[in-house]
């Protein structure tokens, strides 16, 4: 039984990593006050960019680099619309998702069914032999290890550096930040771009690590789940891990049940992650209201310097 539990937990970490990257990215964007609903689109574009680059160069790390860049570039469109042009951020994010989904599908038609030399799981020496934690955490793809570094880095930047203070100020009270000489626009652009880069990484994890293939719409809504997870995480990088791995767990369980030949119909099982996310959202909304925690006060409100 414990073998099963270990296997499920390891699968949970694996399945949750893509969402984790995307959630961390969106946390940065939202902390600076910009709502970016284009995560799904950025992830898909990142997935394709990473896959294609891996196919062409044979090096998945170059693929990851390309994915990050692609996601970042795409996010800048939203940045321009949301920050400089002060357009409606929900609409702009939706446009980004529609565009990114279409763009990745259109450009990706040539690589459907093409094999790629993606990442392979690498067991870290020594620590991978720790009972339970070893197999769960340290026998994963390199990108998973990257995520282990990004989480504490994100936390540190947000809470222990000047940049993080600026970011949080811009998201809570841009007028005050502006009055104190912080460049609100530049901070927001940087955070939106960071969100794009991380979303791209989340996407390429799916196409070069979790699997090594490209399928249209392969993220299947993970970008949206990430947006929900940001709320569950109360905009905190550490809690994002909990949400992402919980999602991963539900996903892993559902896959395991399928494989075990359960009598439950496949399609109902496949609904589980989405139902789970709705439940998480309900729970998170009630919790933040109860504890008076909340979204960054200036989230999704365009900023302009008025009298």
């Amino acid at each position: 039984m414990s073998v099963f539990v270990t296997a499920v937990c390891a699968a949970a970490v694996r399945a949750g990593t893509s969402v984790l990257f995307a959630t961390l990215g969106e946390i940065f964007a939202e902390r600076s006050g910009v709502l970016n609903l284009g995560v799904e689109g950025m992830m898909l574009v990142g997935a394709l960019a990473g896959f294609v680059t891996t196919v062409r160069t044979g090096n998945p790390w170059l693929g990851a680099l390309a994915a990050g860049m692609a996601g970042g570039l795409l996010s800048l469109i939203h940045g321009v619309l949301a920050v400089t042009l002060r357009a409606n951020q929900v609409a702009s994010g939706l446009a980004l998702t529609i565009f990114g989904t279409g763009l990745s599908a259109a450009l990706g038609r040539g690589v459907i069914g093409v094999p790629a030399a993606g990442f392979h799981a690498v067991a870290l020496p020594a620590i991978s032999r720790i009972p339970f934690l070893g197999p769960v955490l340290f026998q994963q793809d390199p990108l998973v290890y990257l995520s282990y570094l990004v989480v504490p880095a994100a936390w540190f930047v947000l809470y222990r550096t000047r940049w993080g203070l600026d970011i949080r100020a811009v998201g809570e009270h841009p007028e005050a930040a502006d009055a104190m000489g912080i460049d609100v626009a530049r901070t927001r652009y940087a955070c939106v771009a960071a969100g794009g880069v991380l979303a791209g990484l989340g996407g390429t994890f799916l196409s070069t690590a979790y699997t090594s293939m490209w399928i249209e719409n392969m993220t299947a809504g993970r970008g949206w789940i990430a947006v929900a997870m940001v709320i569950f995480a109360t905009w905190d990088p550490l809690r994002a891990v909990v949400g992402a791995y919980l999602f991963g767990g539900v996903n892993a369980l559902q896959l395991n049940l399928q494989a075990a030949g359960t009598s439950l119909p496949i399609y109902l099982l496949l609904m589980a992650p989405y139902v789970f996310t709705i439940a998480v959202l309900v729970f998170a909304t009630r919790e933040t209201a109860r504890k008076r925690l909340g979204a960054p006060a200036a989230l999704s409100v365009p900023y302009s310097r008025t009298g």
Binding site: L85, A87, A91, G102, G221, P265, Y267, Y274, L281, T285
Partner: protein, 361 residues
């Protein structure tokens, strides 16, 4: 003391010029991307325009595609007037198809003369119920409806899959995921013989008129407009936010459900995959380009329907995936959003926090 306000009402010139120029810009950008994909943009665009508008058949097919777009456009527009984002029109459309199929295939009504009205009503009811789920969550628990409506899309598509691979699978379909075909009594009649333009067109236009009437000449519409303009003023005026959320979303879901019932009955003739190439999502763009004005949705829906039709054609002639249409739609959306702002005005559309700001009692 005069307070300077940014223009919220564009000049009449701008209302037409901005979308037109923006669309041109979008197509330019699209051309660059098509070239990247190894396609000659001029050839592609020529096909894109000539297919829907180059022949009578093209025109009728464009209208066929416009019918569900009008309905999903209204399904997004109405809640948007109240600062609610209904991203779930796609799922509500699917539920509408499911509801219609249920009446036709699993009740005796499918072979009777009342089959058509019954399936349409069932589709509307199913769509309304599907939209009520996020509405209730929003009204009672203040859960963000943008995400919940969207997640329900994925669930709805899986529900369709479940039904057509499982309990509703047509035994005669030789393994293809299809439901049994609708009997002739349950097919929406054609309006123009020899074409696929069906009764749904009249229903869609009626929906446009009804929505316009609702907004301008009823108390419910008044409350929607006040809630959409200033939720705090609405609370101050004693308008009940929760009740109106439920009502508006139910109506919106019913409209999208009607689209689904129409597609299942008139076009596909059964419940199957791919009833909608993304009409629900395009509905968002329809609503936005129409500037949340019901009358304009008809025109915008025709244009975007033409885009879909052209995209279909490109699939055949150039082997491009239908996703190119999404790409172009996304670009148009970007450019219109940017163009509006460059022209100095802002569409009075929903902001996610606006409706949440009013304390619910």
């Amino acid at each position: 003391m005069i307070r300077a306000r940014a223009r919220t009402e564009p000049s009449p010139w701008a209302v037409v010029a901005v979308p037109v120029i923006s669309t041109l810009g979008a197509f330019l950008a699209g051309a660059a991307l098509l070239a990247l994909a190894g396609v000659n943009p001029l050839v592609a665009y020529l096909d894109l325009v000539s297919d829907p508008f180059g022949s009578v058949f093209g025109w009728t097919e464009t209208i066929v595609k416009a019918i569900p777009l009008i309905l999903t456009g209204l399904a997004v527009l109405l809640p948007a007037r109240m600062r609610l984002w209904n991203i779930g029109a796609e799922g509500q459309l699917q539920l509408g198809a499911i509801g219609a199929s249920w009446v036709v295939l699993w009740t005796p009504l499918g072979h009777t003369p009342v089959a058509v009205p019954a399936l349409l009503l069932a589709g509307m009811a199913a769509g309304a119920l599907w939209c009520l789920i996020p509405a209730v969550l929003r009204a009672w628990l203040n859960v963000n409806e943008t995400i919940t409506t969207l997640l329900l899309n994925y669930i709805a598509l899986l529900l369709v899959d479940y039904l057509i691979y499982g309990p509703w699978k047509d035994p005669a379909s030789r393994g293809f995921p299809l439901s049994a075909p609708f009997p002739p009594a349950a097919r929406l009649p054609a309006l123009i013989p020899g074409t696929r333009v069906h009764l749904g067109l009249l229903l869609a236009l009626a929906a446009v008129a009804a929505t316009m009437f609702l907004l301008t000449r009823t108390r419910f519409g008044f409350e929607i407009r006040v809630l959409g303009d200033n939720p705090q003023a609405a609370q101050y005026a004693g308008i009940n936010l929760g009740r109106n959320i439920l009502l508006v979303m139910a109506v919106a879901g019913a409209l999208a459900g009607l689209a689904g019932a129409g597609e299942a009955s008139a076009i596909a003739g059964r419940l199957e995959r791919g009833l909608s190439p993304g009409y629900g999502y395009t509905g968002i763009i329809v609503a936005w380009l129409a500037r949340l004005n019901p009358l304009a949705t008809a025109i915008v829906a025709v244009l975007l329907g033409a885009l879909f039709l052209g995209g279909d054609g490109l699939q055949i002639s150039l082997g491009l995936p239908i996703a190119v249409v999404s790409m172009l739609q996304g670009l148009i959306f970007f450019f219109v959003l940017g163009g509006e702002r460059l022209a100095g005005y802002r569409l009075a559309a929903p902001t996610p926090r606006g409706a949440a700001a009013a304390k619910s009692r």
